[in-house]
């Protein structure tokens, strides 16, 4: 009965979304406050309804109600509670419900916090948001009903793929979706601005926090996914340039570009139509990502069997939204007047270079990800584009950008003095060269490029700090003045310092792990030892351990370094009898600078066990850097300028009024 209520709530939500799409748009067109006011109520009601449907689904999973097909297919009564809950979104239907729930949440947030938005803009934003809701709730109801019943209900469920029974992956989809769907806000604002025919500083100031929030969520989501891949897939890798990973990376790249161009639109009134275009592209790539993952067209470690109907419907939705938005853009964007003259050598110019390079990188990833699909669709040969392609395209495009990152913030708006900016970066440059030389001189193994890579990382971190130190007069005045200035410094400045510094740490992690990883694959019998880098591993014992819903083969490995006993590591190989699958649990020992990573394989039939071990220098820095970047975004999000300055909007000038 309760499941039917959930289904009913979802149908009601569709009706409400339809109202939210149509009525406020008409209201904004006719300047009718009452009709526009419907948007707020509809957004809140839609959120409550979808929230209810989602809660029903969670309830069904937690109580193991196997009369629901979705629960029977994806859950099991012996599963720990956390995985019963995460099982809700670890499947197609449930994850789509989560998708629309987050969409409705953003809509409700606009309704709730948007009191200072002009009512016409708010009505139009919510109407566009409503149209996305209509498309996706409709998609769920038509092709992927999560509330389907099973008759007769089985006594037990089929369980959840053990690879997904993992804390890292339990919360990876909600973060990723919060990011994907968060970009719908930038999209809705862009479409509303195109309909209104104007973009001003306060518009950009409203768009920035939404984009920033989405970017933070996306950054955390991607980092979690990569961390999960690192410790569960047992290959010691963290990024495979898999199409599904790329599907999340592309919106991230464009969202990063959008964050930067929105600054120019806000502060200088320039790059307006470009910012709108980026907002459209960012969400379009989220939709394409959803299509790639949900339609099952990919040959990917993430791909699940799915029904072709779904792919066709999502492709239809994606085409209508992207096509419609681009047509509207082509029609209305020429009306957007650019202001703010600037010389090529200026902060605006630097941000344009940032956008060009990020776009080029995005295009390279896009081609590498979709070219095999196009070729296949056209009846060509089946090909795979793997890591070497991306290393040869994405990396060289990003390199100049990384070099320019510390420089940009030191350039003034409008016209800048390059020499002065470079002088201020002398310290950072000197340190970067010093680090490169030290690495080159003292580290014999690994490619010589690694030395330059570490120099680049130093340049980024110290460069981010240089800008920050200059702003608070760290070395040029008394400490108390610096502290006072640091307190008064806009949070956005703090955020930028963290985000750019985090990027440097991330680069150090990537370079270090790529250049200096040591690998060992061997077979050990109980009592035997092997060496990887400076570590000696002794397989003391192999035993069995009973988990809540699995049985694990545990290798007890004593670790020694330079004769010093560091204790035990216990990698596991878990067998899940219900799902009839296995899952590797790597044992990872980290000291913050490098990871020792050990995996145990099956009995190899010769009385021993296959052991694979890696020493991954700087590996923790990869996720550390990503988290610092996300943290920078969060700090920036608390900047009071987003709240205090926002309501003041430029008066409407008659000449920029669109033909209605």
């Amino acid at each position: 009965m309760i499941a039917e209520l959930g289904h009913f709530a979802l149908i009601l939500a569709l009706a409400v979304a339809l109202v939210q799409m149509v009525v406020p748009m008409i209201g904004a067109h006719r300047d009718d406050e009452a009709l526009m006011g419907v948007a707020n109520k509809a957004a809140l009601v839609q959120f409550v309804l979808i929230g209810f449907a989602f809660a029903v689904l969670v309830h069904a999973f937690v109580t193991s109600d196997f009369s629901l097909k979705l629960v029977a297919d994806n859950s099991h009564s012996a599963k720990p509670l956390i995985y019963k809950i995460s099982g809700v979104w670890a499947n197609h239907e449930g994850s789509m419900v989560l998708w629309v729930l987050i969409l409705a949440l953003y809509g409700a947030l606009v309704a709730f916090f948007g009191a200072n938005l002009p009512s016409a803009l708010r009505a139009r934003v919510l109407a566009v948001q409503g149209s996305i809701g209509v498309a996706f709730i409709g998609f769920i109801l038509i092709t992927s009903n999560p509330f389907m019943r099973l008759m007769p209900a089985p006594f037990e469920g089929r369980g959840l793929n053990p690879l997904l029974q993992d804390p890292g992956l339990a919360f990876h989809p909600p973060f990723l979706y919060a990011g994907y769907v968060g970009l719908s806000m930038a999209f809705s604002f862009a479409i509303a601005a195109l309909i209104e025919g104007r973009v001003d500083a306060s518009w950009a100031r409203w768009v920035r926090p939404w984009t920033l929030g989405a970017w933070v969520a996306l950054t955390i989501g991607i980092a979690m996914g990569s961390w999960w891949a690192y410790y569960t897939l047992g290959w010691g890798g963290y990024w495979f340039w898999d199409p599904v990973e790329n599907a999340s990376l592309m919106p991230w790249i464009v969202a990063t570009a959008l964050l930067h161009s929105a600054i120019v639109a806000e502060k200088r009134g320039a790059l307006k139509s470009w910012t709108i275009l980026l907002a459209i592209f960012a969400f379009s790539l989220s939709l394409i990502g959803t299509f790639l993952v949900r339609s099952g067209v990919l040959n990917s470690v993430h791909a699940f069997a799915s029904d072709p109907m779904r792919g066709v419907v999502i492709l239809g939705i994606v085409t209508v939204f992207i096509g419609g938005a681009l047509v509207l853009y082509g029609w209305r964007a020429p009306a957007l007047k650019a202001e703010g003259m600037f010389a090529p050598m200026s902060r605006e110019g630097a941000l344009i270079v940032n956008n060009l390079l990020l776009s080029a990188a995005g295009v390279a990833v896009f081609i590498g990800t979709l070219y095999p699909l196009f070729l296949d669709a056209l009846g060509g040969p089946k090909i795979t584009v793997g890591a070497p392609f991306f290393n040869m395209t994405f990396v060289p495009i990003m390199l100049p950008l990384l070099i320019l990152v510390p420089l940009g913030p030191l350039l003034g708006w409008k016209r800048a003095d390059l020499v002065a900016a470079l002088e201020r970066l002398m310290g950072a440059g000197a340190l970067a060269v010093l680090v490169s030389l030290c690495v080159f001189a003292f580290v014999s193994e690994g490619p010589w490029l690694a030395a330059l890579g570490m120099g680049l990382a130093t340049w980024l971190v110290v460069g981010a700090f240089t800008e920050f130190a200059a702003r608070i007069a760290l070395f040029s005045g008394p400490l108390t003045t610096s502290l006072r200035r640091a307190r008064l410094l806009p949070r956005a400045q703090w955020g930028m310092a963290f985000a750019h510094g985090g990027l440097g740490i991330l680069v150090a992690g990537l370079v270090g792990m790529t250049a200096w990883q040591s690998e060992l694959v061997t077979a050990l019998k109980e009592g035997e030892s092997a060496t990887v880098a400076d570590y000696t591993l002794t397989l003391e014992k192999v035993g069995l351990r009973q988990g809540p819903n699995y049985e694990a083969l545990v290798g007890v490995i004593r670790v020694k370094k330079d004769g010093k006993d560091l204790g035990f590591m216990m990698p596991e190989k878990r067998r899940f009898p219900v799902e009839r699958q296995e899952k590797t649990e790597a044992a990872i020992r980290t000291n913050g600078m490098s990871d020792l990573y050990v995996v145990i394989g099956d009995d190899n039939g010769h009385g021993g066990y296959t052991i694979r071990a890696y020493v991954n220098p700087f590996a923790p820095w990869i996720w550390g850097g990503a988290i610092i970047m996300a943290f920078g975004g969060l700090i920036s999000l608390t900047d009071r300028r987003y709240r205090v300055g926002a309501p003041t909007r430029a008066r409407l000038r008659p000449q920029s009024q669109p033909a209605q």
């Binding site: 089929r158 793929n161 053990p162 690879l163 897939l233 047992g234 067209v297 990919l298 040959n299 470690v301 993430h302 791909a303 699940f304 069997a305 003259m341 600037f342 010389a343 090529p344 110019g349 344009i352 270079v353 060009l356 390079l357 080029a360 990188a361 295009v363 390279a364 081609i367 590498g368 070219y371 095999p372 040969p381 089946k382 090909i383 795979t384 584009v385 793997g386 070497p388 392609f389 040869m392 395209t393 060289p396 495009i397 694959v521 061997t522 077979a523 799902e579 009839r580 699958q581 296995e582 899952k583 590797t584 995996v599 394989g601 190899n604 039939g605 010769h606 021993g608 296959t610 694979r612």
Partner: protein, 156 residues
């Protein structure tokens, strides 16, 4: 600098960056794409040994063997033709006899295949699309049908 010159600067800059990206993409496309073949394809299309390819099919029942403590060999079949695949390392968790697999590596002059990456299917229902396709081509499987067991007998 006039407005025109400024615009020209940015247009040239954009073209330079896009040109660089296009050049890199085209160059990387030439050497870094990997073709997929089924065991039948390899024999019919006489793939040159030594080039990097992916092969896919079903792991033949009873063919998995440890050749050394860390190396294994198994047969990949599309029911028409069968190939021997050698691999050193730990197999992915989802690798099992009688199920779909994709292996990346190089074809040897003796017609066997040395894989450096083995990708196994992801869940009970999933089969790599290329494998499904090549099985369909070989006429051994239709959409929606129960998979034939790779030793030829239909077993449940």
């Amino acid at each position: 600098m006039t407005r025109k010159q400024r615009r020209a600067t940015f247009i040239l800059l954009s073209l330079a960056i896009l040109g660089m990206a296009a050049g890199l993409v085209l160059y990387a496309m030439r050497d870094n794409i990997v073709f997929f073949y089924s065991p039948s394809d390899i024999i019919e299309k006489s793939v040159t040994p030594g080039s990097r390819i992916r092969i896919g099919g079903m792991v033949e029942n009873g063919s998995l063997k440890n050749t050394s403590p860390t190396s294994i060999e198994f047969n990949v079949t599309d029911y028409a033709k069968t190939m021997r695949v050698a691999y050193t390392g730990i197999l992915p968790d989802l690798f099992r006899e009688g199920q779909g697999v994709v292996a990346e590596g190089t074809l040897q002059p003796d017609g066997s295949f040395v894989a450096d990456t083995v990708l196994a299917k992801h869940d009970e229902k999933y089969m790599p699309p290329e494998v499904a396709e090549s099985l369909k081509k070989a006429g051994r499987w239709k959409e929606g049908e129960e998979m034939p067991a790779p030793d030829g007998a239909y077993t449940k």
